[in-house]
């Protein structure tokens, strides 16, 4: 077995809205993610999957339990944990190139090296020729490619992805999933990937975590034993379909609980 990269231990989180009752988002959640592993988290809406990612990112204060990356406690955001959000979160006043350069500005390298590295990642996400475009001029899929390049260029240890393809149309989503598979094949980052889409989780992951309805706990873990390197071909296999069915069933139970139909 490989090294543990990310470790959640008895993590709890209560969300306190500006008005109204506090919401218990996560309850005694423990999870290990191995180095170079691609792990997806699925579960009903509001089960705390994104909260889990934000805690790992260091964006929310951890009130109970411990999260470590390479044995170091997470306390604030840092460039060792890169993140890609559903709605891209590009800096709208920066061009594609300037967005990709942002994370490199604080690194000790000269301007030529920075430009070269930025160009390499712009090429990697197939945006060659759009270096000087503003985000407002790009389609959703292109914006998400910029966000992926901006995060990968700083070479983070782990990559957090918060429903990154959730705001895209089906065709674009399919294309980006394949591109992500290819990029992951090259970089082999440890990835924690939150999604609603079971099909997407099975296609991309080594392991799929199914979370329970709120308060979020781990309901079950499904190892995806499909050969790599993968592409969309794999979705036609019998194994792929049975993984999807299995996970769908698990998510469905929780979705029913979450919507109050079943207890």
């Amino acid at each position: 077995m490989t090294n543990t990269k990310i470790k959640f231990e008895n993590v709890e989180f209560t969300y306190i809205p500006p008005s109204g009752r506090p919401v218990r988002a996560l309850e005694r959640l423990s999870l290990d993610v191995a180095e170079n592993e691609f792990v997806s988290i699925v579960g009903p809406s509001g089960c705390g999957k994104s909260t889990l990612l934000y805690l790992l990112g260091g964006f929310l204060p951890l009130e109970h339990g411990e999260i470590t990356v390479d044995g170091r406690k997470v306390s604030k955001p840092g460039p060792d944990r890169g993140i890609v959000f559903q709605h891209f979160a590009l800096f709208p006043w920066k061009t594609v190139r300037q967005n990709v350069l942002y994370g490199l500005e604080r690194k000790k390298m000269d301007a030529a090296q920075r430009d070269e590295l930025a160009q390499k990642y712009i090429d990697l996400v197939k945006l060659t020729g759009f270096e000087d475009s503003w985000p407002a001029q790009l389609s959703g899929g292109m914006k998400q490619r910029v966000a992926i390049a901006r995060t990968l260029v700083t070479d983070p240890d782990v990559l957090l992805m918060d429903e990154p393809f959730g705001a895209l149309d089906a065709q674009t989503r399919g294309i980006l999933q394949e591109e992500l598979l290819a990029i992951w094949g090259l970089t082999r980052k440890t990835v924690l990937f939150v999604t609603h889409d079971v099909h997407e989780a099975v296609l991309l992951s080594d392991r799929v975590i199914v979370m329970s309805a709120r308060p979020g706990r781990i309901k079950s873990t499904v190892n995806i034993d499909l050969p790599r390197p993968r592409n969309s071909e794999v979705t036609r296999s019998q194994n792929f379909a049975s993984y999807c069915d299995e996970i769908w069933g698990l998510v469905r139970e929780e979705a029913l609980v979450a919507s109050g139909i079943k207890t």
């Binding site: 990112g57 604030k76 890169g82 979160a89 800096f91 709208p92 006043w93 700083t154």
Partner: protein, 248 residues
């Protein structure tokens, strides 16, 4: 070209009607001098160099007052958005000042600061402050969490994030606040010069009006609106240039 003609046609018609109404005696020339008479007076006042003295006095005041308002107002707005303590400390004062018409302060400020430039500058500064504070505050408060989080996870510390992301992302709201302040500044400039100055466009208009030189008074008002119009156009051009990234 045709579009331009249609746009300015109503203005031309108003001027023509104005000229006609005055010449034909529909209104007394004492109350409304003919447009041509106003233009003649405008030429006289400009050629004698008198207009320039007053225009530059006014421009100095409005640029100092508004400039100070922009610096202090945006600093205050960003501070309020960033710090709960600052918000608790400053917000009640601002809330109290907000509904107060700043022109009501003109007599008080003239008593305090006298008849120099400082009274007008102070009035403009106070009047421009609130819309700018609000613009900066709302802009900074409205910045998406994910934008801030992205910057932090790309290695920016809290201070870099404030300067490079929060203030930058708040720019559209701040610029809109400054535009409101600009319009307000003109009103306050002219009204404060009417009562407490020996120079400036507000003074000139009031002075000529008191002396019965209505053509001169209209010429002054014409210059004021021309400057106001030009300032707003120039500001809009700057606004669109700074926010060009949104116009894809």
């Amino acid at each position: 070209m045709k579009k331009l003609a249609i746009r300015y046609l109503p203005i031309a018609l108003i001027i023509l009607f104005w000229e006609f109404a005055s010449r034909a005696g529909l209104v007394s020339q004492d109350v409304l001098p003919a447009f041509s008479a106003v233009m003649v007076r405008l030429w006289e006042l400009s050629a004698g160099g008198e207009m320039l003295v007053h225009v530059s006095a006014s421009l100095l005041r409005i640029s100092s007052g508004l400039g100070l308002g922009i610096i202090v107002g945006s600093a205050l707005g960003f501070l309020l958005a960033a710090s709960i303590t600052a918000q608790r400390l400053i917000q009640p004062t601002l809330t109290f000042l907000y509904p107060l018409p700043k022109s009501a302060l003109i007599p008080v400020i003239i008593i305090w600061l006298g008849f120099g430039n400082s009274a007008q500058i102070m009035v403009i500064f106070l009047g421009s402050l609130l819309p700018i504070v609000l613009g900066a505050y709302n802009g900074a408060k409205g910045v998406e969490n994910t934008l801030v989080w992205s910057a932090r996870s790309l290695g920016a510390n809290a201070i870099e994030t404030e300067y490079q992301v929060i203030i930058r992302a708040a720019l559209p709201d701040l610029l809109a606040g400054i535009r409101v302040a600009l319009a307000l500044s003109f009103v306050l400039l002219i009204s404060s010069e009417m009562v407490g100055a020996q120079q400036g466009m507000g003074f000139l208009v009031a002075f000529l009006g008191d002396g019965g030189d209505y053509a001169g008074m209209f010429a002054g008002a014409f210059v004021i609106s021309a400057i106001g119009f030009a300032a707003d156009r120039a500001y809009l051009a700057l606004y669109h240039h700074l926010l060009r990234y949104r116009e894809a």
